[in-house]
């Protein structure tokens, strides 16, 4: 029975048509993921009706390809322009962009690619072989445990930068405040909108993300270019960059195996955390990437280099976000619960094909699901092959002079932001977030805690208030679960130890 289904699945998964669809999907995903504002999820949503017209294996192949390509594509713009192409790659931007500024975009992109593929493949195997046990663990996460997890991640990231802990905490708080604009998740009333009805739904993630990172960068670059022009009038001897690429030397920018091996610890941390967090319904890839990044810095021998272009930082963040991609389907396969936006879209695709997500799925549609498992694995190889071929090109694009590149990126960002929600308000939010980003950069505030605060705040607030409702308003209810106590204790121990260790080093 198993062998027969498996052989049938092999035929399905490796038919030339399906392989072609996977490759097209990966290509689309990489391209869309690389455009700030657009993401693989959006493309999946738009292409959903295709399941009416394609065979199930081909349709799932296309969607899987888009998803995986999009996961990696986000890191291309994060590294090249400092603009996370997708929310999941926000943590990648921290070190990836610094590496590019140092003239090593190719090293950073390759690190991102390999750690992504490693994280993703591991996560797919966990989905295939450990879905049920992990799903049962995931269900033990209720509001109390989730709040502890969110608190843990906020502490970890706020205390990321040495000497800037106060600024980090302030930024996390600002992120939480921005996320509270809109509808109160428990009472349903509108708050902090200052009478502007368009803000009733809150600020959307994509415009805030792209604004803080991309628009602020553009404004600063613009200011710098004007400063330089003004200086040039006085002193005309300024050296003209001769080619489009300035003085970028691609031959010095190759990732060696030794360099990649040095990121091994970071990649493993990212893979483990990403797989675990991905399996929790509602936690998401950006949280996984930030937690992986924070932990990798804590456990790195060269933690001081984080934030300054560390390849380990890139590896941890990318392995972390990509490792959610297989495990995010676990709650869907085990219980029919969509744990993320992507899982919800895959669930809708299954429903449109007449397959009900849940534990019966694998028994009722054995061949298609086995074929999907095979596709999940080999799509990574296609991603690896295609990206390997394309990365030298992307690295060159990354090094195009910013006065040419940034306006293009910004136009794409504005279009992408508009397209993501069909909303003009989002474009205004984007521009205001850009101005806020400029101010924060000028005063040297770290941006990552703000983004993480903004991302986790809705979940954290809901979890906190649900816990208090369930616990009849008793705050001690927050300590009623061993998992929660464990998370708080780990956070406390880590902060105390690392503060102590860092002080000794000085």
């Amino acid at each position: 029975m198993f062998v027969e289904s498996f052989v049938a699945a092999l035929y399905l998964a490796f038919s030339p048509e399906v392989i072609l669809y996977v490759a097209i999907g990966v290509m689309m995903g990489i391209t869309l993921g690389a455009i700030p504002g657009l993401s693989g999820d959006m493309a999946i949503a738009i292409l959903l009706p295709i399941v009416f017209f394609l065979e199930p294996a081909a349709a799932l192949g296309l969607l899987t390809g888009i998803y995986k390509g999009g996961m990696f594509g986000g890191s291309i713009s994060a590294i090249s322009f400092g603009v996370p192409g997708t929310p999941g790659s926000a943590a990648t931007a921290i070190d990836g962009y610094q590496a590019k500024l140092k003239g090593y975009p190719n090293k950073a992109l390759n690190t991102a690619l390999y750690s992504s593929v490693i994280g993703d493949t591991t996560s797919d195997f966990v989905l295939i072989f450990l879905a049920l046990p992990l799903a049962i663990v995931a269900l033990t996460f209720g509001p109390v445990e989730f709040f502890a997890l969110y608190a843990f991640s906020l502490l970890l990231i706020s205390a990321l930068t040495k000497g800037k802990v106060a600024k980090g905490v302030a930024m996390a708080a600002l992120g939480i405040l921005l996320a509270m604009i809109g509808r109160d998740p428990i009472g349903g009333s509108i708050r902090l909108t200052f009478g502007i009805p368009e803000l009733a739904g809150g600020l959307a993630l994509i415009p805030v993300l792209v604004g803080i990172f991309a628009v602020s960068e553009l404004i600063i670059q613009l200011g710098r270019a004007w400063m330089e022009r003004a200086r040039k009038i006085v002193d005309d001897t300024r050296r003209q960059a001769e080619s489009l690429l300035g003085d970028y030397d691609s031959s010095k920018d190759k990732l060696t195996f030794r360099e990649f091996r040095a990121t091994w610890r970071a990649t493993s941390i990212g893979t483990t955390m990403g797989t675990l967090i991905g399996a929790l319904p509602g936690a998401g890839s950006s949280l996984a990437a930030f937690i992986s990044y924070g932990l990798a810095q804590r456990f790195s021998r060269r933690g001081d280099e984080f934030g300054k272009g560390s390849l380990e930082g890139v590896a941890a963040a990318e392995a972390g976000n990509s490792a959610t991609s297989g495990s995010t389907l676990i709650p869907l396969f085990a219980f029919g619960i969509p744990g993320s936006a992507t899982a919800a879209l895959f669930g809708a695709a299954f429903i449109l094909m007449g397959m009900t997500p849940g534990p019966r799925l694998i028994y009722d549609h054995t061949e298609v699901i086995y074929a999907l498992f095979l596709i999940l694995i080999y799509a990574n190889l296609i991603n690896l092959a295609l990206s390997h071929f394309l990365l030298p090109l992307y690295s060159k694009i990354a090094m195009i002079q910013s006065r040419i590149l940034l306006p293009i990126v910004c136009v794409l960002a504005i279009l992408g932001t508009f397209a993501a929600g069909n909303s003009v308000i989002d474009v205004w939010v984007l521009l205001f977030a850009g101005l806020l980003g400029v101010v924060l950069r000028l005063y040297n505030f770290p941006l990552a805690p703000l983004i993480l605060g903004f991302i986790v705040a809705p979940g954290a607030e809901r979890a906190l208030r649900q816990s208090l409702l369930i616990g009849r308003g008793e705050w001690t209810h927050l300590l009623s679960s061993p998992i929660a106590i464990g998370l708080y204790a780990t956070a406390a121990i880590m902060i105390i130890t690392f503060t102590f260790v860092l002080r000794e080093r000085k």
């Binding site: 949503a45 959903l48 009706p49 009416f52 017209f53 995931a138 269900l139 033990t140 996460f141 209720g142 509001p143 109390v144 809109g182 509808r183 998740p185 428990i186 009472g187 349903g188 509108i190 009805p197 368009e198 803000l199 009733a200 739904g201 959307a204 319904p281 509602g282 709650p331 219980f335 029919g336 619960i337 969509p338 744990g339 936006a341 919800a344 879209l345 669930g347 809708a348 429903i351 449109l352 094909m353 007449g354 009900t356 849940g358 534990p359 019966r360 929600g421 069909n422 909303s423 308000i425 989002d426 809705p458 979940g459 809901r462 649900q466 409702l469 369930i470 009849r472």
Partner: protein, 325 residues
């Protein structure tokens, strides 16, 4: 492209032949021209409204003339979609597909510049019947268990539901008004979160719509206590209604297509006819069954009656709980 692919799959060859015969005559008579029709939904993609609207978008072009796109606008808690349709040219090309939340409830509680009379129903897709459920190893397994437990210990039973005052919350409020029982209301981010909290043992009861739990109820992984409707849900035939247990609490949730009231009556009539014809086609019926959408279309007149009844009953509930004066 759609025609050839469908034929290739051989699902509805006869329907396609019939469509081809009708299409040219309709195309000439269509008052809609060739610009696409947009079905705007105030929710994110992938949910029940999206899936149901896509069945229509895939089948109706042959009957109505132009292409049909499903556009998802979940901004401003759905009000952005409502305002977008409200401000579009009133020519029948921009329609709203929604349940009563963003249009009836929002019309009462939110600060909007339109009233309920500014909308006219074109057609109703289906009626969703809110259902209360729990895990099979929970002490509460029937409506009677729930009532007894809530009477013995008021304010202890935790009840998960999606956004406050939404489709799967108002029935609970109505039930509590009817019985005087009190539960702890725990809002969640949606059906998925409610279900993981119920299954993980974090809360006692949850409310959702039948298609999302039908297969788990059939396999015994979840227990459905009761449905807030006049008659039993065809998807959950073994689950009693609250009416059967003696509680007159009925609050089904429809999914309706709306035009603004300034769209000409003949355009609305044309849309109603071609949508109903499309949904009666064998292809649409096959698709609807496959996705468990339970589509049972109502024409514009019946939909209007249903809409006005809902506006009245929800207004009553909101007044009773003090949300509006």
């Amino acid at each position: 492209m759609f025609l050839s692919k469908t034929t290739r799959k051989g699902t509805a060859a006869t329907a396609v032949a019939a469509m081809m015969a009708i299409a040219p005559t309709l195309g000439a008579a269509s008052p809609l021209g060739t610009d696409p029709i947009r079905l705007v939904i105030p929710f994110g993609p992938g949910g029940g409204s999206d899936i149901t609207a896509r069945v229509l978008a895939a089948t109706a072009p042959e009957f109505c003339g132009p292409r049909i796109d499903v556009v998802s606008m979940s901004g401003a808690a759905g009000l952005e979609a409502v305002n977008f349709v409200r401000n579009a040219t009133p020519n029948g090309h921009t329609l709203l597909v929604t349940d009563y939340g963003p249009i009836v409830t929002s019309g009462y509680v939110d600060d909007v510049d339109w009233s309920h009379d500014d909308w006219q129903p074109v057609m109703n897709f289906t009626e969703w019947l809110p259902v209360v459920y729990t895990r099979p190893d929970h002490a509460i397994q029937t409506i009677e268990d729930w009532v007894a437990a809530a009477e013995a210990n008021p304010d202890t039973i935790t009840f998960g539901h999606a956004s406050p005052l939404g489709l799967v919350h108002l029935p609970l409020i109505l039930f509590e008004m009817e019985t005087g029982l009190r539960n702890v209301h725990v809002p969640t981010s949606g059906g998925g979160e409610t279900r993981s909290l119920v299954m993980g043992g974090h809360i006692d009861l949850g409310m959702t719509l039948p298609p999302s739990i039908a297969s788990e109820v059939a396999s015994g992984e979840l227990t459905a206590l009761g449905v807030f409707s006049q008659e039993r849900s065809p998807i959950l035939p073994d689950t009693p209604t609250f009416v059967e247990s003696g509680y007159d609490v009925v609050l089904p949730a429809w999914l309706m297509i709306f035009a603004t009231s300034d769209v000409p009556a003949e355009t609305v009539a044309f849309l109603q006819d071609c949508f109903m014809e499309a949904l009666a086609s064998p292809t649409a019926v096959a698709m609807s069954n496959r996705v468990n959408a339970g589509i049972e279309p109502l024409n514009a007149a019946d939909s209007t009656a249903l809409y006005q009844a809902t506006v009245a009953s929800i207004g009553g509930i909101l007044r009773d709980i003090g949300e509006i004066d």
